[in-house]
Symmetry: C2
Subunit: 541 residues, 2 copies
């Protein structure tokens, strides 16, 4: 029995690029060796990245995996525990972990519990494992688990009954608000209950709509947290086991982030990874003088730097002068490229072309949508010409009720606030201002009543309930699966609830064609909320 | 032992509208009684419809199902076999069939084999059943199976070993080219092998991107087809069992459709159901004088009638005069509303607004996209004003390689040709002309070289390989999962294959924001092809 040192590789893979991932893992293992680590553990499916979706079905995956193994075989004198796709000769495919030393595979573990709910589709790709992997190294008994396994009490109990001292847990656990703390709290109880040390390493980085927060940790069987890695940061973190004291020594304990900081930094990370890993030189967005685009701009600048961000103001008749002023002020404060493109002549030419069809029919949302689509086309034109990605600026509240224009303000490759309710947009704007000497979002943008400025003197609240009420209804319906009658019984006005739910249900088609955006809630408009478009379900019970 | 009569209800449910579905089932059962049927069998999950996706997770589903049961309890003197979601008190949820007589449930069967591949996600929603259901009625021994169960030889063997004479099989089996014939061929072999009569009833109707073709059948254990219901038609079909001869008497045998008729009629059905069940009064589409929009128009007219179809020609500088002539001719032949909207002034106003940004940068696809987006905005304006659904006209070949403009020609709620390769578009156009006295698609539209008409004298083949070659490469890559090297080894030019595959991979983001369209292949761009957008996978092996 001797003391030892474990490196937790809080790793950000590039999904699908096995060669690059293996190369980076090799570099991290070499760095860990320099720090005298005896073992390095990587996240779930670290060679391929998570979730790789139908890349998992590609016929050459196994060959690519074997090539990555060859890269990793170069590392000597340190034990590697990493995730890979294990395709067996009898045609099974497992979500697996390998234990490798000096180029030899000492053991393979196949994940036993395959999540197939919410954002997870693992049963589409994987077979279930049925056996534990336990190994002794440096006089210490280790077991291996993969993500969902740790949340299955019977699985962990079985491992504990094999006299395992430390569970090495490989994870790709997506972020949602409060989840970093929730994991540590739950696993503290589990460690105590089963007398098991838990070494938990999580993937980090944005992958399409999913944010992986890292926040890896080590918990001793006594229930004390020995290591808490930071949220959202890639890096190597070390835990030293003291054989005499039979515990992991207390090492770096990164403080948990406040909720608003946690959300804000998550959006920044997701945006950065989406833009950079898609190979865009920068981003462009429409700045309206409103709070959604103001917050999106701040996030974009924090994600990739002001020199890579272009903002365009596209005023029309109904745009208030203060909107133009506030947009210009924010662009100047943040130091981004700023331009103004008038859309009057464009909207007029559409109106003239459509006049023979429309005749004297009264104005309605059609004309408002023309404004939004003129703006969308300008942004896409600038994107096409110069290569920057268009960021869409709509929030969750307006996407929920369809208060947005398909092919208009919805254009873009990434919708930064897609999963952020309007009430939280305000909080995040205030939060971002609070952490800077100079507020990056003009105060007036936060305090003036929200307006889409598509009609004279229009205010959002003319046609929608106040956002505090709207968001409460939406949260109950979307996140909590409450029925219309449930929500009404909580004291909300019947007509208002009926209208909101009808809008949510009817606007599924818009969301289906909308851009991806980072998920921060337990029920985002994305891969975890799957409704048919042709759908006769009636709201009610 | 006596003779009896079974009604096969080739049923088209309205997904999610349990009350309406139960009402329709009640009417069908009453009609079957009038025809002296002893038993009526409905498709898989007939009360709810298939696939209901996350409606299956709604807390009130069970209450709604129970209400539908109450509706069905009114039917006396006929045995009902129908599909429903069975939520048990211990929290399990099954894809089930009930056998009901005179309001009493005689037995419940829980589906044992849950497909979770391709377009199927049943493990997201259901638990697996583990028990067969066998019942005796009129001296005959029946067993019940649900869809995928029939394709599991062990499951069907077990049922046959219980001395079952006839398997009643409830299905929601989505169409793909050739599948109707494939089912009958496979089940003929199975019936003979296991000495089992097979009564196979399939859902019919379009549901978002899926087409259910019906094509229900009855096969005797001797291997002869006793009943073959037509493809794509809702209705009640009857099979009479002759107890003396111990077989189902030969009844209606609808001839199989030729491949082109099968595809064409499937697209018509899918379009009709999408438009009507979404509640649109009609459709609108841009007619370019090219073959894609010409075929889409013909399908639209066949689906919902010329009086509900509006076509708009939107010429620009590069539009040939013959395009305008051909579009007008087709609109006239088909009798649809036709209008012309010039886009010159709109494109010019965009160019003027963008000039301060673009300066003297050379023209590229940016300017072409402006034309497409001007057209898209006009169509959406007309849709917004008058309520018609925009049909998108792009085909699978161009969607595959991104030869289409996001928010331009891709606008629309339903993309009729989304899963139809360009070479098949030509075949379908000729097919449609062949079945009418007067060709509905002008001959010149079929024979002239395809062009997007976005540049002077542009032809598709200037920047793409000939469609025969392109489609062959695409089919190998998409439908057959062949790798780049596989395809090159078949004799295709390396540079061409590399370019095509790179285009397919790079344009995932466009397809992700595209409209739904009916699936006719074994690998459509839809729920069965799920790739990450941020994706470092390199083509090659």
């Amino acid at each position: 029995m001797k003391s030892f040192k474990i490196a937790l590789a809080q790793f950000s893979p590039h999904i699908g690029n096995l060669e690059a991932n293996a190369q980076k893992m090799l570099e991290q293992a070499n760095e860990a060796k320099k720090q005298h680590a005896d073992l390095i553990i990587f996240p779930e499916l670290s060679i391929l990245g998570y979730p790789a979706e139908d890349l998992l079905l590609r016929p050459s995956l196994n060959q690519r995996t074997q090539q990555a193994f060859e890269q990793l075989r170069e590392i000597k004198d340190i034990v590697l525990v990493f995730g890979f796709v294990n395709e067996t000769e009898d045609g099974q495919r497992f979500n697996s972990a390998a234990v490798m030393k000096d180029g030899n595979i000492l053991g393979i573990y196949n994940k036993q519990n395959l999540p197939n709910y919410a954002v997870f589709d693992e049963k589409r790709y994987f077979d279930e494992g049925h056996q534990h992997l336990v190994f002794e190294y440096l006089g210490h008994k280790f077991g291996v688990l993969i993500c969902e396994d740790l949340w299955s009490l019977p699985t962990v109990q079985q491992l504990a009954q094999l006299n395992v001292e430390t569970a090495l847990v490989l994870n790709a656990s997506p972020y949602e608000v409060g989840k970093p703390q929730h994991r540590v709290q739950t696993m503290t109880e589990l460690a105590k209950q089963l007398h098991l040390n838990v070494v938990y390493v999580n993937q980090v980085g944005g992958q399409d709509d999913l944010i992986f927060d890292g926040t890896s940790f080590v918990i001793n069987q006594a229930g004390n947290v020995a290591l808490q890695a930071p949220t959202y940061q890639e890096g190597l973190f070390y835990a030293e086991y003291d054989a005499a004291q039979k515990h992991f020594k207390t090492a770096e304990i990164s403080p948990a982030l406040d909720t608003l900081a946690e959300i804000y930094q998550g959006l920044v990370l997701a945006t950065r990874d989406y833009v950079q890993r898609s190979g865009f030189p920068g981003v462009i967005l429409g700045l309206s003088g409103g709070i959604d685009s103001a917050l999106t701009l701040a996030i974009a600048v924090d994600a990739i730097g002001a020199d890579k961000v272009q903002a365009v103001m596209m005023p029309y008749t109904y745009t208030a002068q203060i909107s133009v002023e506030d947009a210009a002020e924010q662009a100047k404060t943040l130091g981004v490229t700023f331009g103004i493109a008038e859309i009057h002549p464009i909207v007029n030419s559409f109106m003239q072309t459509l006049y023979p069809f429309f005749g004297n029919s009264p104005s309605d949302t059609t004309e408002e949508n023309l404004q939004a689509r003129a703006r969308g086309t300008i942004l896409m034109g600038l994107s096409n010409k110069f290569g920057n990605l268009v960021l869409s600026t709509g929030n969750k509240s307006e996407l929920a009720v369809g208060y947005c224009t398909l092919y208009g303000d919805m254009v873009g490759g990434y919708a930064v606030l897609k999963d952020v309710y309007k009430t939280i947009v305000f909080e995040l704007a205030k939060y971002r201002n609070s952490i800077a000497d100079t507020p990056v979002i003009p105060e007036r943008v936060i305090t003036r009543p929200p307006s889409a400025e598509l009609r004279p003197d229009q205010k959002d609240q003319d046609s929608l309930p106040p956002y505090e009420v709207l968001d409460a209804i939406l949260y109950a319906y979307i996140e909590e699966d409450q029925s219309q009658e449930d929500i009404i019984s909580k004291g909300f006005e019947r007509a208002m609830v009926e209208k909101v739910i009808q809008l949510v249900d009817r606007n599924e088609y818009k969301r289906r064609q909308g851009a991806l955006g980072p998920r921060i809630s337990s029920r985002a408009f994305g891969r975890e909320r799957r409704y048919p478009l042709v759908n006769g379900w009636k709201a009610g019970i």
